[in-house]
């Protein structure tokens, strides 16, 4: 007699799953590199090609790495926020200029401001593939040992900074402090 209720129970479970799924983003690809050391790389600088930006630059302090391109509308959206960050915060932002034209990128940064401590020029996407980057803008949080700790996909917003990035940085700083003391 109870087997007639099985379809109903299955549907209830499905509806519950769908309800949860409505608030997830099916297209966001999480990074398997979280917790891994930064992939080794060495890119020519955007402004001065001889001055490299490499994985060594990311060791020894907490930093953010932001992927951008002039072709990317979300990057233009978040630019002011990044500028404000670079002017007020200790944590530096580094940049990967992805699949872009050198002159166009330089012009844009000259016009709208350059928030980046260093910029790596990656027109062919080689390094970005190593990082599991699939679009722009994307932002990574790197800890002092050079490990990727967090990845944010999409334009940076006040809310994300407040709720994800800043708490994460504070946690990393606390970690560093505890290690120094021990």
């Amino acid at each position: 007699m109870w087997r007639f209720a099985i379809p109903l129970l299955v549907v209830i479970a499905l509806v519950a799953a769908f309800g949860r799924a409505l608030f997830l983003d099916p297209g966001k690809v999480p990074s398997p590199l979280i917790g891994e050391p930064v992939p080794e790389f060495s890119l020519p600088g955007l402004y001065e090609p001889e001055k490299n930006f490499s994985s060594d630059d990311l060791k020894g302090h907490i930093s953010l790495v932001n992927v951008f391109g002039t072709w990317c509308p979300g990057c233009h959206e978040e630019h002011d926020l990044l500028m404000a960050w670079s002017q007020s915060q200790d944590v530096p932002i580094y940049g990967f200029n992805l699949r872009d034209e050198r002159d166009a990128a330089i012009n844009w940064l000259n016009r709208d401001g350059n928030p980046y401590a260093k910029i790596g020029f990656d027109p062919g996407g080689e390094t970005s593939i190593d990082w599991g980057i699939y679009g722009a803008p994307e932002t990574f949080l790197i800890d002092a040992e050079g490990r990727i700790r967090l990845k944010h996909i999409g334009p940076m917003t006040e809310a994300v900074l407040r709720e994800k990035i800043i708490p994460a940085i504070e946690m990393l700083q606390a970690e560093m402090l505890r290690e120094e003391q021990s």
Partner: protein, 136 residues
Amino acid sequence: MRRVLVFLACLFFSAALFAAEMRFENPQQQARYENLINELRCLVCQNQTIADSNADLALDLRNKVAEQIAAGKTDAEIIEYLTARYGDFVLYRPPLQANTILLWSGPLLLLIAGGLLLFFTLRRRARLDDEPENPL
């Protein structure tokens, strides 16, 4: 906004540049190349394989696959390379692992369940048939 623009860009197919192009003299390598690029998902245009997508990332990934085949890597190694960076999402053929056991065994389990149902029903119905019928 980014989603809308990406969506529009991906909506308009064009046979991609150098997609299933003759990259290799060796037919085995060419066949491997074509098989691989037809089973890898484009992360930008997420409803296409990297063979069919005309996103820049797809082109770069196709180049990467060709490079690695030429360098003598096996299919498993190439897949490992990509999943280490992009996760299992990039594979249209889900790997057989702990979180996909139910996926791969599901259809077979369903078939067995259906078969059992069939068997027991047939048995019961055959017995029903043996009983004398009530004339109506």
